[in-house]
């Protein structure tokens, strides 16, 4: 073999680079992030398993029904009624976007563009305290 030394070193470097991520993560188990649901409500619009797996399809259908078909009211499989609105229904319970939506979307590397237009719930940590402070000043 010509240039055996160079080729073998090259192969070793190549293998090291290729295998690095595999070896680096060997033995570790990925832990999904803990989500802050942000509400005491036990039941979402649909059963939790369905929401976890298919909330995107649900939101897609909601959007089409509202925008295209002019229907606003959702009667869920549990018989409850909801206003079909990401901004006015979902975020009323899930008030912590950073700790709910974003945390999981970052983990699975999904970047939906909902919040480019829809207004995210306000960060409530600071605001209510301020209000209270103001009231006590009064």
């Amino acid at each position: 073999m010509y240039n055996a030394g160079k080729i073998i070193i090259g192969i070793i470097i190549f293998l090291a680079l290729i295998l690095f991520p595999v070896l680096y993560n060997a033995g570790k188990t990925a832990t999904p992030p803990k989500l802050e649901v942000g509400t005491q409500e036990k039941q979402c619009v649909e059963p939790i398993a369905y929401m976890k797996s298919s909330h995107m399809q649900l939101l897609d259908t909601w959007r089409d029904e509202v925008v295209r078909n002019g229907k606003r009211e959702y009667i869920s499989s549990t018989g409850k009624k909801f206003d079909m609105s990401l901004q006015n229904t979902c975020t009323k319970c899930h008030v912590k976007k950073d700790q709910f939506c974003d945390r999981c979307h970052n983990y699975v590397d999904a970047s939906p563009k909902c919040w480019d237009c829809h207004i995210a719930p306000p960060e409530k940590q600071a605001a209510p305290q301020e209000k209270q402070a103001r009231r006590s000043n009064d």
């Binding site: 295209r68 606003r72 959702y74």
Partner: protein, 263 residues
């Protein structure tokens, strides 16, 4: 041998029946599926339309633009300083801009003094034959069954064919991210838009679904704007059309606009 073949066919037939029964049972079992309904208070019409009673729009002389402010506040419409970036849903414009071709040299002589020089509120005409809908390559804009010409911002790719097609200039592109330019307080019940989509008046479909009249109609204290169902012969708009001669913007183009003006 004959017996086995018969038996085989019998079993095959039964199995087919068995497999066929599953979806039928499923369909019956899913009777408590999710349903979609219009809201309980939703205003339902067959052909929404608007009448602008210009005779009542007299405060416009004193730079009243309550209708514009109300609409832009409710829908989070941005205000850009550069007129090239302008985004508008309803706005005020001069007679010769609203009704080009209708002006004449002697108009000044016969137009009532009270109407002279008044700006006209103009908005999307929610045409019966909307050219914007015809040209949209992605069906982001479409005509609802009740006549409202709607935008689905999720789908808009910002190609601006609709802006070229609309003879009324009722559509605006968001050249820039509109969020920092929303000068009024954010209406948290309605979304904003993002950069690169076209927006326009939606006849307040989101308010109709809650049983409310459009924001501009509600905001006009002089009742200069009237909204209603053209297909309902007893509606207020039809009553106005019966009693008053009206004109529309550029009807000769065949778009069949549905905003009527009483002069």
């Amino acid at each position: 041998m004959e017996n086995t073949r018969r038996r085989f066919l019998q079993i095959a037939g039964l199995s087919v029946l068995g497999f066929g029964a599953r979806p039928v049972l499923d369909a019956v079992a899913q009777s408590n599926q999710a349903q979609y309904m219009p809201g309980p208070n939703a205003l339902v019409g067959k052909r929404w339309a608007m009448v602008v009673d210009q005779k009542k729009c007299l405060k416009a002389k004193d730079h009243c633009k309550d209708c514009v402010d109300a609409c832009h506040r409710v829908h989070n419409v941005p205000t850009f300083d550069n007129p090239k970036d302008e985004v508008k849903w309803i706005w005020l414009t001069a007679y010769d801009h609203a009704f080009p071709g209708e002006e004449n040299k002697y108009a000044e002589d016969y137009i009532k003094d009270s109407l002279k020089g008044l700006p006209f509120p103009v908005l999307c005409n929610h045409c019966d034959n909307p050219p914007c809908v015809r040209v949209c390559p992605v069906k982001a804009t479409f005509r609802r069954e009740d006549g409202i010409v709607m935008m689905d911002y999720h789908r808009c790719i910002g190609c601006r064919f609709c802006m070229a097609a609309c003879p009324y200039g009722a559509r605006s592109l968001n050249w820039r991210d509109p969020r920092p330019f929303i000068k009024t307080e954010l209406n948290r019940e309605f979304p904003t838009r993002c950069r690169g989509v076209v927006e326009k008046c939606n006849f307040c479909f989101e308010r109709l679904s809650k049983g409310l009249k459009p924001a501009c109609v509600e905001a006009c204290k002089d009742k200069g704007l009237v909204f209603g169902d053209m297909e309902d012969p007893n509606s207020e708009v039809r009553e106005l059309l019966r009693k008053n001669p009206t004109i529309r913007r550029k009807p000769q183009l065949g778009t069949n606009p549905q905003v009527y003006y009483i002069l």
